[in-house]
């Protein structure tokens, strides 16, 4: 049997490689990791219309075949011999036509390594705008490799590329020599290569006007003006940067953009989140009405349906966040944001590239941790993952809202908004302090020390391609559901079990109560004598120093499934039977609650503030731990995160409660 041929796509960052991959696969591909690593690549089949029976792999962007990080090393090794797909039969290497003098290096190294290569010249429209073009036939003759030009936007030239791929695949196989990699590493080699590329580029770049080309060829002179033009960055980009990267105002614009994005994550998503919430709570109540008052009905309504709701409630925020970030990235601004914030972040051991993941952390830590993959320095990447759980994710918002509503005097509602901003400010400041401290103890905690650098191309500004951005948004959201969904779901079921058993059919006094009130009273009765309550009483000695009792302890345990579950657990425990307005009746119940063993009021100003601080710090999210484990490759970092953040949460809360009490605020 003949094995399916393997075509691998290689190219520098911003060289149109992914666009080409999307065209060739017809966007039908899956993203997988190299075995035993966190480095991703995409693989798929050629779109049916091209009639090529071959597998096609995309690979992460490469500047050269000389690796600069463990991730790049793996990518390059896999290029020579892919762990699951073997040696590629053909390599397509992309090069931006306006960046030939830089992008030809990779193509040159691939040809010299002995691969069968097709050089695909991309973004010809940008070069044409400068009234220039590439003489691809001449280039083919010089580098002795097939060269073709495509336009990713109009898909012009794709048919020709497909024709070349077909004919190349019928040629005899070539086997690359990995030993060649050693010479690519020498300074002299690099300088000499660039000199060769320089002379090639001077020959193949021609004016669009063909008469002039002919004249030039006949006279065999190199037009010096031509060189000048290819060496000039995009005019419009320079103009925009004069404003957006202005030395002083640039940073100010950056802060405004981030502020707008940040608030839109909350304000745009809020109505959608309400919608999801309403949908799943009404679905749960319909199903329990239809199935009656029995254990499986409760399992379906409170375990499965509410569990699904807990997963999907964050989807609007994640969608909006990735949509906005995707649009910003596609315009070219995000790289500039990373540049503007690099200095302050480098002070605490992070990198300009840490800032997007950190921002995502305010929506949800899971996609945020996944997006740290763009940070090539391992130490900086691990440190970024380390502090992401400190960003106040959206799951904490309902908890803050409840506790702040409790603290805010009803005649001064504006204070609530002020308190909430203060909580976010504190969480940002604390994460900076933590990153600083962890960075100081780097050798013991992160255990990676690599000289840090920031080298980033600032791409030309362009209008975002909505289709591509939407697709990426969809992919990211899917990743969130796939990775976090099952864990949140499983935990919801475990917590349902702990709060439902063993007293599954409680006996209560039903006189004068309607169906709904009976169900709610039964719920709270069930919880009072549940395994979760036992667990709660067990941890009461731990809660008392914070001025809290077993009931808050149980709510904190249930919050491990998803932090916002804290609020619904409190409602259950404090026997809230008024479904119309849970918050106001919960607030009344909180005001009247007393610690059973001592008779002191449970929720005072000091204990509520202490509890807010507990939530700012504590890593109460099993999904985050699971993703952190997966992305860092061991349990080391997630266990450190859990222990450090949760114990710090406890001690900070303890200190705050007792300090407030000592100065007379009870």
């Amino acid at each position: 049997m003949i094995q399916t041929p393997l075509v691998t796509l290689v190219g520098p960052p911003n060289s149109g490689k992914t666009t080409l991959f999307n065209i060739l696969t017809g966007k039908h591909f899956k993203t997988v990791n190299y075995p035993g690593s966190t480095v991703e690549y995409s693989s798929g089949d050629f779109s049916k219309k091209f009639n090529i029976s071959a597998k096609i792999l995309d690979s992460p962007g490469l500047i050269s075949l000389n690796p600069n990080s463990p991730d790049e090393e793996l990518t390059i090794q896999s290029l020579f011999n892919h762990p699951t797909n073997g040696i590629p039969d053909l390599i397509l290497v992309t090069a931006d036509s306006s960046q030939l003098s830089r992008h030809l290096l990779l193509a040159k190294q691939l040809i010299e390594s002995g691969f069968k290569v097709i050089l695909v010249i991309t973004m010809i429209d940008i070069l044409n705008r400068k009234k220039l073009t590439v003489n691809h036939k001449l280039l083919r003759d010089i580098i002795k490799t097939d060269v073709t030009i495509i336009n990713g936007k109009t898909e012009e030239g794709i048919d020709n590329l497909v024709k070349i791929i077909k004919s190349k695949l019928t040629e005899e196989r070539k086997f690359p020599n990995i030993e060649k990699l050693k010479i690519f590493n020498h300074k002299e080699y690099l300088i000499k290569s660039f000199e060769e590329i320089e002379s090639i580029v001077n020959k193949v770049i021609e004016p669009l006007n063909s008469d002039l080309t002919k004249a030039n060829n006949e006279l065999n002179i190199l037009n010096p003006v031509l060189k000048e033009v290819t060496r000039k960055p995009d005019e419009l980009t320079l103009k925009i940067d004069r404003i957006l990267l202005h030395k002083y105002f640039g940073f100010f614009f950056f802060l405004i953009f981030m502020g707008v994005i940040f608030s839109s994550i909350f304000w745009l998503a809020a109505p959608l989140m309400d919608l999801v919430d309403t949908f799943f709570s009404s679905l749960a109540s319909y199903s329990s009405e239809a199935l009656g008052n029995n254990w499986y009905s409760h399992l379906i309504a409170d375990g499965i349906i509410s569990g699904t709701g807990a997963v999907l409630i964050f989807l609007p925020q994640i969608l909006i966040l990735f949509l906005i970030l995707g649009l910003l990235e596609d315009t070219g601004y995000l790289a500039r944001g990373a540049m503007l914030i690099d200095k302050p972040l480098s002070k605490i051991g992070l990198n300009g590239k840490s800032f997007v993941p950190m921002l995502s952390g305010f929506a949800c830590a899971i996609p945020a941790i996944l997006s740290t993959r763009t940070i090539s320095n391992r130490k900086e990447r691990l440190l970024t993952i380390f502090i992401i759980p400190l960003m106040s994710c959206s799951a904490r918002l309902p908890v803050y809202v409840l506790l702040i509503a409790y603290l805010t005097p009803s005649d001064k509602p504006w204070l609530g908004g002020f308190f909430l901003s203060f909580v976010y400010l504190i969480s940002i400041l604390l994460s900076i302090v933590v990153a600083y401290v962890i960075n100081k103890f780097n050798k013991k905690l992160i255990r990676y020390e690599v000289e840090s650098a920031f080298i980033l191309e600032l791409p030309t500004y362009k209008l975002p391609k909505l289709k591509v951005v939407l697709r990426n948004t969809f992919e990211n959201s899917k990743q969130y559901i796939i990775r976090a969904g099952p864990i949140i779901m499983l935990l919801s079921l475990i917590i349902w079990f702990l709060t439902y058993m063993p007293n599954h059919s409680p006996v209560i006094d039903k006189t004068g109560l309607n169906q709904e009130e009976i169900a709610l009273l039964e719920n709270s009765e069930r919880l009072t004598y549940s395994y979760a309550a036992n667990l709660g009483s067990f941890i009461e000695p731990i809660m008392l120093p914070l001025g809290l009792d077993w009931r808050v302890g149980v709510s904190l345990i249930t919050a491990f499934a998803a932090r916002e579950v804290f609020v619904s657990s409190m409602a259950l425990i404090f026997k809230i039977t008024d479904e119309e307005n849970i918050q106001s009746s919960l607030l009344t119940a909180m005001k009247n609650a007393k610690i059973e063993s001592t008779g002191q009021p449970l929720f005072t100003v000091s204990t509520s503030i202490g509890l807010i601080f507990f939530f700012i710090f504590a890593l109460q999210c099993i999904s985050t731990l699971a993703v952190s484990r997966k992305e860092t490759g061991s349990w080391r970092i997630p266990v450190l995160q859990l222990v450090i953040f949760t114990s710090t949460a406890y001690f900070i809360s303890f200190i705050i409660v007792n300090f407030l009490r000592a100065i007379g605020i009870n």
Partner: protein, 73 residues
């Protein structure tokens, strides 16, 4: 010898050499900072670091520390 971090805004210079003691000197070469190439300081962040250079028709931002290893004439 002067290095790229000492350039003023809009000032152009030709690269003489890349200091091999910088651990990232190969990456700087690979991205196109090669001897003989002309660079121009386009802008810097408010903290004067990183710095953006125009090079081979594109814009590349690098930290001051890396710019110091680019020797110019």
């Amino acid at each position: 010898m002067k290095n790229a971090s000492e350039l003023n805004f809009g000032e152009k210079a030709v690269i003489k050499d890349i200091n091999s003691s910088n651990p990232y000197y190969k990456r700087l070469l690979e991205i196109g900072f090669t001897p003989g190439e002309e660079i121009e300081l386009i802008n810097t962040s408010i903290f004067n670091d990183p710095m953006t250079f125009s090079l081979r028709g594109t814009l590349i931002a690098i930290r001051k520390k890396q710019a110091e290893s680019i020797l110019i004439s």
